[in-house]
Symmetry: C2
Subunit: 464 residues, 2 copies
Amino acid sequence: MYRDPVQSLEAPSLPSSATAMRPLRVGMIGIGTVGAGTFRVLARNQALIAGRAGRGIKVVVVCARSLARAMSVVGKEVALTNDPMQVATHPDVDVLVEAAGGTGPARDWVLAAIRAGKHVVTANKALLAEHGNEIFAAARQHGVAVAYEGAVAVSIPIVKALREGLTANRIEWVAGIINGTTNFILSKMRDEGVGFAEALAQAQALGYAEADPTFDIEGIDAAHKITLLAANAFGMPLRFADAQVEGIAALQGLDVACAEQLGFRIKLLGVARRRQDGDGADGVELRVQPALVPANHLLAHVDGSMNGIMVKGDASGVTMYYGAGAGSEQTASAVIADLVDVARLDGTHAAQRVPHLGFHAPAIHDHLAVLPRAAVHTRHYLRVPVHQAQQIEAVGAWLAAQHVPVARVQLACAQQLPAGGAPQVLVLTDAVAQATVDLAVHALGAHPAVAGPVVSLRVEMLEG
Amino acid sequence: MYRDPVQSLEAPSLPSSATAMRPLRVGMIGIGTVGAGTFRVLARNQALIAGRAGRGIKVVVVCARSLARAMSVVGKEVALTNDPMQVATHPDVDVLVEAAGGTGPARDWVLAAIRAGKHVVTANKALLAEHGNEIFAAARQHGVAVAYEGAVAVSIPIVKALREGLTANRIEWVAGIINGTTNFILSKMRDEGVGFAEALAQAQALGYAEADPTFDIEGIDAAHKITLLAANAFGMPLRFADAQVEGIAALQGLDVACAEQLGFRIKLLGVARRRQDGDGADGVELRVQPALVPANHLLAHVDGSMNGIMVKGDASGVTMYYGAGAGSEQTASAVIADLVDVARLDGTHAAQRVPHLGFHAPAIHDHLAVLPRAAVHTRHYLRVPVHQAQQIEAVGAWLAAQHVPVARVQLACAQQLPAGGAPQVLVLTDAVAQATVDLAVHALGAHPAVAGPVVSLRVEMLEG
């Protein structure tokens, strides 16, 4: 058991003042899923956490809409208020935990806390993807930490891995399954052969998808997260507005089955890839899309609502990080880890030990841009409905003539197809610029052999 | 590009003295695989690393047996010596990188460096598993950091995940594939149906196993690593001497095939599990053994020389960490990450920010003991050679009478068996104490139906 915080610090060189030894005092805005989970885990594992942090971590004030509901969670020892700004600037608060969500008002509270000299911990990916550049600049100016492990893959310490664990490496790419809702839906579609709408309904019934699932299924949530990862990987500002985002709402069960036939699984991937090619492309691919992954690849085995992220470094090779991507206590795990990081240094002169986006300001490539969609370079899967099966040859020849490097052409198995449906030509290409594929797909629509809309999806051949 | 170290620190609250801004000066003992890799990556990614660390990291002196060979690696700008103690106590050195290996002499160098006020970075798992308690106590006393990310799974930042990323959690267990050599051999045995000796020979030919492979194949290397993980997970001293260690040298190809038939794969697992059972067991299972893992479990898909480690926390749930478990630059990735951690704080009063084994001294459970083999509680796989196939019923009934909870009994498929070999009864048990299994297996040897030695292996039903 944890015995005596006053004697608990290992390093005699740490300042032994009362300031360093008293509990870290937390103000919390929001006591919903994330806030209540954080409070609960802090209470349950109090002695253990103090034993790791070297001091206690104590919630002293909470802002909530319903004070009665808040009191039912935090009890009578914690001060309560309806006024978020009061928590953000409270004289007894060392760290603000922003657990309210949203962007506009949350931005104001966080900036107010920073200006009042408070550290901030948040799991709010939308806030940081959209306002992070401004928030981190303010934090730098005021010498406080803004920690956000919970904003990417909650309990998986991927921000720590990128900012601290892989610092030796030139990162080549980061790619992963970073939205549990869509991964649950895609797993259902594959395992049970159901369509998107039915899988979504099941996800909603089980609480894996919200009543309004737009942010998840349109890929926006994943885009927030890959934006944060890209900045930490490559030393670039947050460029959420430039990310190319495609969700899974238009994905057809037929393509899930055809991908399977070809030896692939479809996953919603966030991908950030540094490109410095011989042909002059210098920038970052920053994109979210449903993509084919080889069935024997580890990412293909990340199922249900789980998340999995791979990072390729020039020295480390590929490393992967796997775990729950959502959940009350899972998010609390990350929020509290951030609080322990602060507790281990708050009151010293080094509280802001790690730069917010992994690189110190002069080393951030302000000019490093997101490459346009046309320049994205991957393999592709095409599904081309034709009037007659023997037109497979015409399709292959025509794509080759359009400079699409065809690697493999075959017909979809009969059992994949709806009764009476058109034969489907399946094409796998070698790596090719998206511009070439887009042109060919567009033109193919007018080819006399083609019986319906052509589907194209990216194929990600990741190492590892 | 990294421009100006003097202006590069984000936090204005960091001391802006010359001490904090000058490069971190490294002395290195050993310039073999680990040392040369570290030097090479530091040189190649110099600007990038300085951009992350806020200052440069510079090797100033190297100790090597052959100065000529060392100079061919590090060039003429780095001081060279044959005397390790000179590096350990060199006045121009801030951090000692111990990259020589071994235990006795390395212990003396590391302790000398600590007493001289140097931080230490090492990837030497044997050194720490055997002398870590003494080394960390000395480091605490002298207020320096001893960092060892490279000592567990090289490029996978698992020490950082446990000590910093999962600090909110009561850790229930850590389990993983933490030796690349044996995983390569086991993958070969399964994929190609070869025996242990042939798979080992292939591993040696390809450089995945050493000429004397004892440390790897006997499980000692994995035991060093799980000892380090257990201490960080549970807040206990390093108890390497108490770990139960079983390697793969006695593993038969027949059992790899029979496990496959039952839906499992055999992996050499390091397992550390906290037990506080109703029946009074209070301690830690600390063990390395070849074990059956369900074929659809993510750990079953960690193949070849890769490593994968799972951690179960009460808030985080299961998280997993995957990557290369060996290699020159892969180890360098971890060594340099440790150097960056030091660089970000050296010269401040908080250099020893994180306690060496994750918990501050008063919170370490000195009394927390390793449970004896007899008390280990898992499911089991038994293979019982019998004279006649119909004796399967006698075996099942006899085991049940011996209080072994039999869950499944079946015969090995004929194609698994050598021509003319005895029929083999395969048994899967429910969870049971090792003592019960050991007794039953011993007694079963005298049963008239039994035609040869009975094989028993643990079955790990890990969540995740």
